[in-house]
Amino acid sequence: MTTVSLQHGRYNRLSINRLGLWLFILSESGIFAALLFARFYLLGFERASELNQTIGLIITSILLISSLTAYRAESAIAQGDRKAFLRNTLATILLGAVFVIGVGIEWSQAFVHFPPNQLFGTVFFSMTGMHAFHVLTGLIMLALLYLNGRQGAYSAEDHWGPEAVVKYWHFVDVVWVFFYPALYLVS
């Protein structure tokens, strides 16, 4: 009788987890790529002059800073520094929440200038809505990480959870790296 092992040939469990996560990220990229191509297909290089450039730049900067705090949270737990992990995870959650509030402010103005039934409105609300939904799911996962971390979960030897959530958070940032210029800056 053979025993089932977590070791599959030269691949260990961590390698398989990482591959699975990257495949998930790749499949998610397809959704965002479709939205990005739809934006250029429908609107060409047009952009709405009513878009608030200040809010766009501020929320982009906030998401960028949250990527640094997320990176630091992951590095901290990989080194076994729980305090720094919790501090940076909390900072990432707060910055993510500010990003969502910023998108909300932008939406309230956008509804006035280009409602969703207009072409630019459809594109703008689809792109920012899908992205904000992913930010929200990332925030939920970060909150779970924080709560688990406070109860003593994760260590230098056991931190696949933080690694996976932080990678997802960076992915959300990468999506915005393409969405921000596509919506606010192209000409």
């Binding site: 961590l14 990176y71 590095s75 080194q79 990468v174």
Partner: protein, 71 residues
């Protein structure tokens, strides 16, 4: 000692990549405001920014590393 050096290296690397991303974002913003047509330059900066995040923050190279052991 090695652990402390590794920790300080990671911290410094995080800041370096963050500063690079911030500078590229400012360049992107200025290009969007001042250069016409801006799109080719914006595509280039977006690809560089995404590359930095995927390589340094998301550690894509770990996919080819088989000796990592944490759970």
């Amino acid at each position: 000692m090695k652990e402390a050096t590794d920790k300080s290296f990671r911290k410094r690397l995080g800041w370096i990549i963050f500063i690079a991303l911030a500078v590229l974002t400012i360049i992107e913003f200025l290009v969007g405001a001042l250069v016409h047509p801006a799109t080719p330059y914006l595509v280039l900066t977006a690809i560089v920014k995404a590359g930095l995040i995927v390589y340094y923050f998301m550690h894509i190279a770990q996919l080819w590393r088989k000796d990592d052991k944490h759970k």
